[in-house]
């Protein structure tokens, strides 16, 4: 009888998943609105029209095919980076070390590109990718093992690993992988040798009439495949289930017989593997060598994109595209308005800050509503039980039955 009543109560409200997705959309739109509004205030203070500025941002991306090509090309690395962050986050861990994992991955990928030059193109590209992945995984393994074995918090250790990675890669470029061929006559000091052409990722943009300057390569399809793989692992495989269990409640997960440490290490390795591919676009589709001071910050931007996409692979792909649109807006902003292009970074910051805050507020709202609903159900059951008692003169079913 209690079951019947509970169903009626739930039907009075919207189904939970509608509420979840609707709530998330509402939160995202609110956040976008807040960011655009606050951005407008800055633009007006600067003496420009927000309408002109925002339309300039959009026209940079959607004005022509090449503009869109830039957006798509920039999205690839962001997708890898955000996926890497999200994988750990699902398991209740924070990998701030994507930046370090990605630059170490790039150093080892560069090593592969410069060492295995005897391989034919497809195999060389494959070994570049494998070494990128291995480098990222190796760098992610350290904080993972330290966390499991010694309890050192991954946030601090990954920050420290970032610092170590920057110095290590600086040394690699100054030492082992330093540019040898001095014949070129230009400044060759701090970078590696140029990669052989066979190591480079082929261009994709020309198939769609996008100029090669956009550097749209096969990295983007790879990133989308990676998003699909992450979705599959997280939603359809045991590891994903265990990760969500550990992330939601480590105590219950342990009680259910899940080895928390093993899950955490696996997640970190997966995260590192994804992080190891972040730099492929820039090095192997664009520059063609590893420059010194290669700290592009994509590892940190990935955190923002992961939040914007709410750690879901689909959300991340769209968030990366949105981020790419904004980044592309820098150029058109400079051409068409007087607002400095740095306005875009502020706008991105406003967006991510308002996303974080509105999601937090929405989550709390939803949580307290669910609590209240649970209390309602309980009240009704109590009422039902007492009616039963009056009617039949015997106690109703124990409440624990359907809980």
């Amino acid at each position: 009888m209690a079951t019947v009543e509970a169903t009626t109560v739930r039907e009075a409200h919207r189904p939970e998943w509608v509420e979840n997705i609707g709530g998330q959309l509402l939160a995202l739109l609110t956040a976008l609105g807040i960011a655009v509004l606050l951005g407008s205030v800055i633009v007006i203070a600067y003496g420009e029209s927000p309408l002109v500025v925002y339309s300039a941002i959009l026209s940079g991306s959607f004005g022509d095919a090449t503009g869109l090509g830039y957006v798509l090309a920039n999205a690839g690395p962001l997708i890898f980076s955000a996926l890497a962050v999200s994988v750990c986050f699902k398991g209740g861990m924070f990998n701030i070390g994507v930046e370090g994992q990605f630059i170490v991955g790039m150093a080892s990928a560069s090593f592969a590109a410069l060492t295995f030059t005897f391989l034919p193109a497809p195999l060389l590209v494959l070994s570049v990718l494998v070494f990128g992945v291995l480098g990222g995984m190796a760098w992610a393994a350290v904080p993972a093992i330290l966390k499991v074995k010694t309890g050192a918090h991954e946030v601090v250790t990954t920050i420290m690993m970032n610092g170590i990675a920057a110095s290590l890669v600086a040394w690699v470029i100054r030492g082992p992988l330093r540019y040898e061929d001095i014949g070129g006559g230009f400044n060759v000091n701090l970078r590696t040798d140029p990669f052989p052409d066979a190591a480079m990722i082929p261009d994709l943009g020309h198939l769609f009439g996008i100029r090669s300057s956009a550097r749209l390569s096969w990295v983007l399809p790879m990133a989308i495949v990676a998003a699909a793989v992450v979705w599959f692992i997280m939603r359809r495989m045991r590891l994903g289930y265990e990760a969500r269990a550990v992330g939601a409640s480590p105590g219950s997960a342990r009680a259910a017989g899940i080895s928390i440490g093993a899950v955490q290490v696996k997640l970190f390795l997966l995260s590192g593997a994804l992080a190891g591919l972040v730099g492929i676009q820039q090095l192997f589709a664009d520059q063609g060598f590893l420059p010194a001071g290669y700290e592009a910050g994509i590892g940190f931007t990935g955190i923002a994109v992961a939040f914007l996409g709410q750690n879901s692979p689909v959300g991340i792909v769209f968030a990366a595209l949105l981020w790419g649109v904004l980044a592309r807006g820098e150029t058109s902003l400079q051409l068409e308005t007087d607002v400095p292009r740095e306005f875009i970074i502020i706008l991105q910051g406003l967006l991510i800050m308002s996303v974080v805050v509105t999601y937090q507020v929405a989550k709390r709202r939803l949580f307290s509503r669910q609590l209240r609903r649970a209390a309602d159900v309980e009240d009704l059951r109590d009422a039902e039980a007492s009616v039963d008692i009056e009617r039949a003169g015997e106690p109703g079913p124990p409440r624990e039955v359907d809980r």
């Binding site: 610092g163 970074i345 991105q348």
Partner: protein, 321 residues
């Protein structure tokens, strides 16, 4: 190896000490109140550009040393204003403190460039050779024999200020009611609340102080060390300050030692590159020592550190205060 090189290295280490120590004290206030602050680097960055701006604007009016001093204070104020975003997000909206700190660091780069285009007409640097305070010689110490005195010769007055900061910070944290309450908010906010301490105001004050100190450190770096603003000049020193804070076990006196050791590690490649043994190590490996040491300590291989018990956790007060 002449001892004079060691003296010069110590001199540089003192400069780095000032930056790391001031920033670390900022982190100390914040984390002792229960708010983890990995946005120190970003707060420093905002301090660099605003400090440099303030100095350039105010020195013609105020002269030396008041112009640079005012610039450094402006950097501190800007750091505090910027930190109020972190306070608002973490204390009022209870956003995850790590997330907010990461966002702070991301946004800081954009804010700095934006301010720089307004202040200097270019995004990534100011004019070089801006005014700075006259350097001073520390009496007695600067006449140490064998060249060791070089360490205390011609240093910025701010280095002395940083050293003296330990007194007010230690006193405020351990000898005042405010400090006791602030620390109790970082250890057990529920217990503090039950004794009538309003947690949120303490955490706000701590985070704002944290931004002010980090901003001051950044302004010192731009105004007194580099004599100009340049993008990327903080070089991750905010994270090294975080490492020093951990090594110090969240104690302002031990933080002095940690900041000096890490500062010295920065100075070795600059002044002791020809020294025996040390000189043979690639400078990159010396630069990574602060991070390696911190990981070793955190993992419990050497020594033991314990962060404030409630650091990182939002306070879920029923009335929200």
């Amino acid at each position: 190896m002449p001892l004079g090189d060691i003296g010069a290295a110590i001199g540089i280490a003192l400069t780095y000490f000032t930056i790391i120590y001031l920033t670390g004290l900022g982190g100390l206030y914040s984390e002792r109140s229960g708010i983890v602050n990995i946005g120190l680097e970003g707060m420093m960055i905002v301090g660099t550009v605003t400090g440099s701006w303030g100095t350039a604007e105010l020195t013609p009016e105020l002269g030396l040393p008041w112009g640079p001093l005012a610039g450094i204070l402006i950097g501190a104020a800007a750091g505090a204003i910027f930190a109020s975003i972190h306070a608002l997000a973490t204390v009022t909206f209870k956003v995850d403190q790590i997330v907010s700190g990461v966002v702070i660091n991301l946004v800081a780069v954009g804010v700095a460039r934006f301010l720089s285009t307004i202040a200097f007409g270019q995004a990534t640097q100011s004019d070089s050779g801006q005014p700075h305070m006259d350097s001073i010689d520390i009496p007695l110490l600067s006449s140490l024999p064998w060249g060791l005195g070089r360490a205390f010769d011609g240093i910025s007055p701010m280095v002395v200020v940083a050293f003296l900061m330990v007194i007010p910070v230690w006193y405020s944290l351990y000898r005042t009611r405010w400090g006791l309450r602030l620390r109790s908010c970082g250890e057990n906010p529920e217990a503090a609340r039950s004794l009538g301490v309003r947690v949120s105001p303490y955490r706000y004050e701590a985070v704002l102080l944290s931004g002010a100190l980090a901003g001051m450190a950044g302004a010192f770096l731009a105004v007194e060390v580099n004599l100009s603003w340049n993008e990327g000049q903080t070089q991750g020193l905010g994270f090294i300050a975080l490492a020093a804070l951990i090594l110090s076990n969240w104690n302002p006196i031990r933080l002095m030692g940690a900041a000096f050791i890490f500062g010295f590690a920065q100075a070795i490649p600059l002044r002791l590159a020809d020294a025996p043994i040390i000189g043979a190590i690639p400078p990159e490996f010396i630069r990574m020592t602060p991070y390696v040491v911190t990981i070793i300590v955190l993992a419990g291989f050497v020594g033991k550190v314990r962060p404030p018990a409630a650091a990182g956790r939002a306070y879920e007060g029923s009335t929200g205060v």
